[in-house]
Structure formats: C-alpha cells, structure tokens
Amino acid sequence: MNGRALHFYLAGINNQNFLMRDKETGSWWQQITGKAIYGPLQGAVLKLVLSDELTFGQWRTESPSGELLAPVAKYTKEYESDWEPKVAKMPVVISFPGTELKSRDIVIGLTIDGGDRAYPWEAFAKQSPVVDRVNGTPLLLVLGPDGKSFRVFLSRIDGHDAEFFLQADAKDWILVDATTASQWNFQGCATSGPAQGKCLARIPALKDYWFDWRNYHPDTTIYKH
C-alpha cells in the first residue's frame, strides 16, 4: 500500500468472511474485497493479484517448474482435503431468500465494467464453455480438462467478439473459436490455426458461496441460460 509492504494476520470474522489486520497500521481489512473497513487506512483497497483455482494435476502440466507451499509439519494433522462437504453443512448467519440459489451453492463471481454476476457452478459445469455478456463485455468461462479447474477470459480475438466451443470428437481437451477455427488450450492461448500464439485476456473471478458473494455484491445478477 503506497509503496509500503503490509503484513496481514487473521483478526476476526464478518458474517463468515474473515477480517485481517496489518501489523504496520492495525487497520482492518475485509478478505473478499481487499478493502480496509476500519483504522488508519480505512477506504484503501489492495490490488488484486490474478490467481487461479486449479487441481494440482492441471497446474503441474501448465507450470512444471513451479513450487508449492510446503505443509507445516506441526499442523499437517489439521489439514483436511475433504473439508468441503463439512463446511457445506455448517450453518450460515445471513441468507438472501427470494433468489433461486441456496446459501451454500457455489458460484463463480466476477465484476466487470461495474457489473457483478454470479454463475451457479452446477449450471456452468454442465454448459461449459459458457459465453456471456456483462454490461456488453463478452466473457468466456471454461471448465478445465480435469472437470474441476476453471478460468474466465475476455471473449475477444484481436478486438473482435468471439464464440468458442469444445471440439467434440477430440481425445484431448481442445477449445475452438467459431471465427478463425483456431485451437485453444485451457490457458486461453491458441495452439494452432490462424490465431496461433495469441492469448485471450484473463478476467479475475472468485469461486465462492452464494451467500458470501451476494452479501458483498448486493446488486449482482445471476447467470441464466
């Protein structure tokens, strides 16, 4: 923040989205928004670093030289790989009745041009690749070859809106665009065809519970198709 490195620690919880404070100023930051909600830096927003939620297998093929956070020996017993079904059963403290989604439904949430939209995970996974528009901006949401990883791209090639589909007869996972018929990989880069070497722009997106996304994005729309 303003050229100064801040160090964060877990300091509380706000409707099941955690609060952290920085050691340098003691300000309070909301996890989901990266915004300081109290303290000397109130109003400041951390810059979002693009990140992916991938399977270890997918990431390994894409980034073979990448390194992994090592488990801390003292706490390995506390790590749970099957925590998701447990958390899904936990109570929620806020709910938004009147929408078709349940509190702990998983959505992909994104914000573009000031518009927020939630994509229910189940519908997305069934339909992938999903091409959609938010405030006129064409988006491409794709489920990875592993059926678990996902990415969101700006659906434009050289400034022109594009349509994508999965090559049905292929053994491997190949995305094809309707305009140039180039083949694209899950990283959003054309591997063959006229567009070879080009990559789609990435759009940051968050996999979240519906109640949490809705709480911090009250004007969000829900994708329907």
Partner: protein, 174 residues
Amino acid sequence: MPAPPPYFSQPLDRRSSPWLWVAFLLCAITAAAFFFVPAFIIRPFGHQAPRALLAAMAFRQRAPMPTLVAAVACFLLTLVLWRTASRWGKTLLGFALIIVTFSAVMARLNYFEWMFHPIPDAQFMAQSESKLDAKEMIMAVRIGDNDRAYPISEMAYHHVLNDVIDGVPIAVTY
C-alpha cells in the same frame, strides 16, 4: 499501664466511601467491556450487523490502553477497599480482578490465531517432493516467470499467508 491515646480507642471508620466502590465497579466494567464487547460481536457463527461490527473494531482497536489503565486503577482501589470489605465484598473484589486481568491480557492477544495458526516462515518445495493428489485443489499465482501454488487444504487451515514473489509482496487468503 497508661490508657492508650484517645484516637486509638476510637473505633476506626470501618467502611470505605461507597464512592470508592462505585469507582471500582466502573473501572472493572470498563476493562471488561473493552474485551468482551468486541469478542462477543466478532464471534464465529454469529451475525455481524454493520454498526455493531464498526463498534467492535473501534473497541478492539483501542482496547490495549483502557484495559491496562482500568486494571491498574482496579488494583489500586482494591488495596484501599480490601481491609474494610466484608466477605462478600472481598469475593466481589477478587472475582472482578480476575475478569479485569483477563480482559487486559486478552486485549493484547490475538486469539483468532490460536484457532488458525499463521505460517511465520513459509517454505516451498518442488512438485516432485509433494505428496498432494493430482485431484487436490491449489491456488496458483504467476508473477514474472515465477509460479507458486498454495494447496487449498493448507490455506483453508492457515487462512492468511504473507509471501513475496519476485519482489512483490502478496497476501494469499482462503
């Protein structure tokens, strides 16, 4: 034996001023409030209303000094009140001092990190050393030519990690 001087034979005023008791209670309540009010509001599985949350953060932010001052004041008042206090009074003083001390200590400790321990000194390893299953989820970041992955099973426990990639300080959260 000569009679003791008159002021020794006079019974001492056995009771301290009730105002000292009021002062003691006020400082005990102050110390307790600065810890317990935010702790109650910011509790897991509780609903946080926006204004209550703001009050909780304001209390917690300021808590170290007032809890200390109030605790010291409570101890000093106890020195005055103890000798003349009844059995009930002493019980109250003792009980309040425990609460007050507890509040002053807790206002300085981050008990959230007792539940979810931070990683003070993150270590990284090559993919070949990892025992992670191929299907397990990770969060991946690329800065410059550096790729780093943070297994979600680990981050769902630690929640926050301060890391530096290629000179860029980042906070990884889950």
